[in-house]
């Protein structure tokens, strides 16, 4: 391809994108072409279209947003993840999660009764269950009618499913940094229209043990009309009320019709 047709093609795709968007394949083609045209400003035509629309809107007069929207917007800054937050993709490793990291070295001194009790606890609560895996439960709930399914903010980091009638839900988390449970744990917060924004529902404390994990949601109160889910980093064991200093993920529920 000669330089002229390539540039013309690039400009055509930039103009198409500015006016009506691009299909993913065309978008990928544009990215590839732009890599070969470093002197082209990829935003130049979008900005020209934007300035024209801005002039048009100003001439018509800007519309007043609804008060409810403005109120919702005021809560948004506190929910945004820190700008420095980077979701590192941790390579999979054969290490197991916190459940199997319990040290048993002190058992000798505690005697057989304690050992037996621990074994029983392990069998009851920690041993692999013969029932469906979390992946299966997540998929089953996801395919269920009336299940709410929302992506995390950047969409590449997984999603969340929640069923209101069943009060059951699961998070699929991709690329969230592993935590050391002795130092900090993740905690889910469920913002519900029936709760004050300052006191969202505690959705449970959890650890991230791999690149992609499925985590069940354990809501401490009945969830009625959730509108936003947020994950924070808190002290081990979680907190009753988060200072929201370390928000790592949010998922906003689209408003229904």
């Amino acid at each position: 391809m000669s330089a002229l047709p390539r540039r013309e093609k690039t400009l055509q795709l930039l103009a198409d994108r500015a006016l009506e968007g691009l299909e993913p394949l065309k978008g990928a083609e544009l990215e590839s072409l732009l890599a070969e045209e470093p002197d082209l400003d990829p935003d130049a035509l979008d900005l020209a279209a934007a300035e024209l629309e801005l002039d048009h809107l100003e001439r018509e007069g800007l519309a007043q947003p609804p008060q409810e929207l403005l109120q919702r917007l005021r809560t948004l800054p506190a929910l945004l993840p820190a700008q420095s937050t980077t979701l590192r993709i941790v390579p999979r490793s054969p290490e197991s999660g916190p459940a199997s990291s319990v040290s048993l070295s002190w058992l000798t001194a505690s005697g057989w009764i304690t050992a037996a009790a621990l074994v029983l606890c392990w069998l009851l609560f920690l041993a692999p269950r013969s029932g469906p895996s979390l992946e299966t439960l997540y998929e089953q709930l996801r395919s269920h009618q009336n299940t709410l399914s929302v992506s995390w903010q950047d969409q590449k980091s997984g999603d969340l499913v929640w069923h209101n009638e069943r009060q059951e839900g699961y998070m699929r988390l991709v690329g969230l940094e592993r935590n050391d449970p002795k130092v900090s744990q993740y905690q889910l917060w469920i913002f519900d229209e029936n709760q004050l924004e300052a006191t969202p529902i505690d959705g449970g404390v959890f650890d991230v043990t791999g690149t992609e994990v499925i985590v069940p949601i354990h809501a401490k109160l009945r969830v009625k009309k959730p509108y936003l889910f947020a994950i924070t980093i808190e002290q081990p064991g979680g907190v009753p009320r988060s200072a929201r200093e370390k928000i790592v993920q949010i998922a906003q529920v689209p408003k229904g019709p």
Binding site: L19, D46, A48, E51, P66, Q83
Partner: protein, 191 residues
Amino acid sequence: MNPTLLQRIAAGDRSAMGECMERYAALVWSVARRVAIDRADAEDAVQEIFISLWKTAHRFDPEVASEATFITMIARRRMIDQNRRRGRRKDRALLGDVPPDLGPIERDPSELADDPGRAIQALSQLRHEQRQVLELGIFQGSSHSEIAVQTGMPLGTVKSHARRGLIALRRLLDGDASSSDSAVDGAEAAS
């Protein structure tokens, strides 16, 4: 020089995000409501646009565009992508839940474009066909196919006018007086 609002946002200043919402909520709402299928859709879009702005503010260059233009670009992209993903164009008049027009608001002109009307003035210098295509595409939100039907032009011609019109508009906004309609064709290769 003091950092701009978007530069403060890029640095993680949440209070700047609050100020940005106060200042530009009407602008973002105005962009969203022109495309959204109903009020709830528009409200969700506004929040998502501000979240997107939080993530993209670092790309803002005050020497290239005003804050209002940059924010309009982010809002436009979000709404265009949403329409594309849905695979359909809205017909708000049929849906009945049109985002409300609560009337224009009083604003300090300095909060918006540095030079109001500059782009519309530039538009008036383009060829008739280019102007027509850009007006339908940007002011009416029509797709290229819809413009082809509305104007009777072949689709390829619509796309060509759109490309050349936007390039000419860009050059005029950059202060290149030679980018009047007659100079566009030759200028394109050197853009």
